[in-house]
Amino acid sequence: MMAVMSLAEAPGAGVSLAALHREHYRSLVRLAAVLVDDVATCEELVQDAFVAVLVRHSALSDGARLPAYLRSAVLNGARSHLRRRRTRERVRPVGVVRVEGSAEAGALRAEEHEVVLAALRALPERQREVLALRYYLDLSEAEIAETLGIGAGTVKTHAARGMAALHQTLGDQR
């Protein structure tokens, strides 16, 4: 544990890896899990994000922006992972939740949740990311815009289009 704490200064002024990890790691893994079905992969994506962001921003003193950078890196990682998986498994839809064998399979078997998650994951990348950030992290439009590097108006557009698509897909399925 001492070794961990010794990294407190590594990322830069005022930023502690341990504190950053404690505060954000779990929520970032869960954010990734909204988009990616395999939790081990989600953890790897978040660990990659920590390394990439903290190395890149080691000279920054603005630790307040690191959470947004981390969220952004996690979403980029999830996007790349899904694209690679889609390439490997050309006919497997990104939007389908694979429940076999995973520890959380039991909880995911509820068909309603599976269908809704599948619909979310079938949306275009930006739309599903905007909705994940809004409905999991409850971020404001400005925070989502900062995370995704797009304008607040674009966030609004993606959110509206995503919800419209979900409404069309799910609206008459109950």
């Binding site: 080691s58 952004s72 809704v116 304008g151 109950r174």
Partner: protein, 442 residues
């Protein structure tokens, strides 16, 4: 109703995230810590090396200036090489990043710049490789493991930048401090085949879905780092909002005997495919890195039949070429889900599915002891509302059975949606059943 969907979405996300079991903090920290320490160490070493290079350059200038002012006396000239010799090893990477198979740009030639700014690497790529003039680029978005992305925004007719409309996204990779382009994607052009780094044969088959002005999608096969086209083909896909399937076969002979200078000069095995919409100017584009010299040839493909419903409600079969290695039944069903071509649609053929979404909805196809178990995935039912009537279900089922039972090795079939036979058949308002060749009436 939207509120209801919001509630369901929140509940699904809550259920999903609550079910996630995360490893101990100490474990995940232990996974991050050494990687971070290693990355920081490499970064420090790079900085030290860069500092040494700068110091060496300053020293060189400090030596050179007096020399230039000394009217070239021979005894002073000898000081120059000693200084430069000390600086040289610090800047040479052990491996040329451009030799990495996924790197498409920049070309590994001495007179082409390398980029320490990812956005400038993308700008060079978009202007020189793709051919766009003065592209509107986003800021760099970092990804994991020294990767990242840069978006290319659309422009209005007056030249204004449309930051709300991303045309394409270019992927970059940082190796030894410089940035390299590894591919590009677009929501307007989805390439299903070839996959990145696939080995292609002399005939490059490009499958995907797309949309563009007048439905035009252009594909260009290129050599490594090259801006010259080895082969070009044009296909018609969606003209409007809907992504529609396209397929092109490009003859790109690439052999040691007759291949282009670019390939021989740099890397005979590497290449790329550029796809863009709009026949005049490039609007959206996708770029896939490929390798030449694959064994795949048209002879390894075969023709299958895919059945549709004709304008009079009759069953009509079209021929499609599928790769044997992918499985012929799977290939035929994938084509069924992609739907009829635009020409076939113009002739009144239909499958009753929403092909823009259903093109990817096939989870697995397994044939064992004559039984084909075909799982379409849980979301197929929601993609195809038109099967909600008994007549539409019957039509789709007839197409499906005709497509499946064309193969003599298949004697019976179990259809599933999301792994469930019940889910598939309830979508068609019927109960789960195993279809045999005889009761299918094929």
């Amino acid at each position: 109703m939207t509120g209801d969907v919001e509630t369901r979405l929140r509940a699904a996300i809550e259920s999903r995230t609550a079910a996630v079991r995360i490893s101990d903090d100490a474990d995940s920290l232990a996974a991050i810590e050494p990687r971070l320490a290693g990355a920081n160490g490499r970064r420090r070493r790079r900085n030290v090396l860069a500092g040494l290079s700068i110091a060496a350059a300053i020293a060189l200038v400090a030596v050179a200036v007096p020399l230039l002012g000394a009217d070239g006396h021979g005894d002073q000239v000898t000081a120059g090489p000693e200084t430069t010799t000390a600086a040289t090893p610090t800047t040479a990477p052990p491996v040329d990043p451009t030799t990495l198979p996924e790197v498409i740009w920049p070309p590994p030639v001495a007179d082409h710049p390398r980029f320490d700014d990812p956005v400038e690497a993308v700008r060079s790529f978009v202007e020189e490789y793709v051919g766009l003039t003065n592209p509107a680029l986003s800021a760099f978005r970092p990804g994991p493991a020294s990767t990242g992305e840069v978006d290319i925004f659309a422009k209005g007719e007056d030249g204004s930048i449309r930051r709300d409309l991303v045309r394409s996204t270019v992927s970059v990779l940082q190796v030894y401090g410089s940035w390299h382009v590894t591919g590009a994607r677009s929501d307007d052009i989805v390439v299903e085949r070839p996959a990145p780094l696939d080995a292609v044969g002399p005939t490059v088959v490009v499958d995907g879905r797309g949309r563009g002005y007048e439905g035009t999608i252009v594909a260009k096969v290129r050599g490594a780092y090259a801006t010259r086209d080895l082969a070009t083909e044009i296909a018609t896909a969606g003209c409007c909002d809907e992504l529609l399937p396209f397929r092109m076969e490009l003859r790109a002979e690439v052999t040691a005997a007759d291949c282009c200078e670019e390939l021989l000069a740099f890397d005979h095995a590497k290449g790329s495919i550029l796809l863009h919409n709009d026949s005049g100017t490039v609007a959206s584009f996708a770029v896939v890195p490929i390798r030449f010299g694959g064994t795949e040839t048209p002879s390894e493909e075969t023709l299958v039949q895919v059945s549709w419903t004709g304008p009079e409600g009759e069953l009509v079969a079209s021929k499609r070429t599928v790769r044997k290695s992918d499985g012929v039944l799977k290939g035929a069903l994938t084509q069924l889900l992609f739907g009829p071509t635009s020409d076939e649609r113009d002739n009144g053929l239909s499958s009753g599915l929403d092909h823009a979404a259903a093109g990817s909805a096939l989870l697995s196809v397994v044939i064992r002891d004559g039984r084909a178990t075909i799982d379409f995935g849980a979301d197929l039912p929601r993609l195809s509302p038109s099967t909600s009537s008994a007549e539409a279900s019957q039509r789709f089922l007839r197409q499906l059975q005709a497509t499946v039972f064309q193969f003599p090795t298949v004697t019976e079939a179990e259809f599933r949606a999301g792994g469930s036979c019940d889910a598939f058949w309830s979508w068609l308002q019927r109960s789960c059943t195993i279809v045999t060749r005889s009761n299918a009436g094929v």
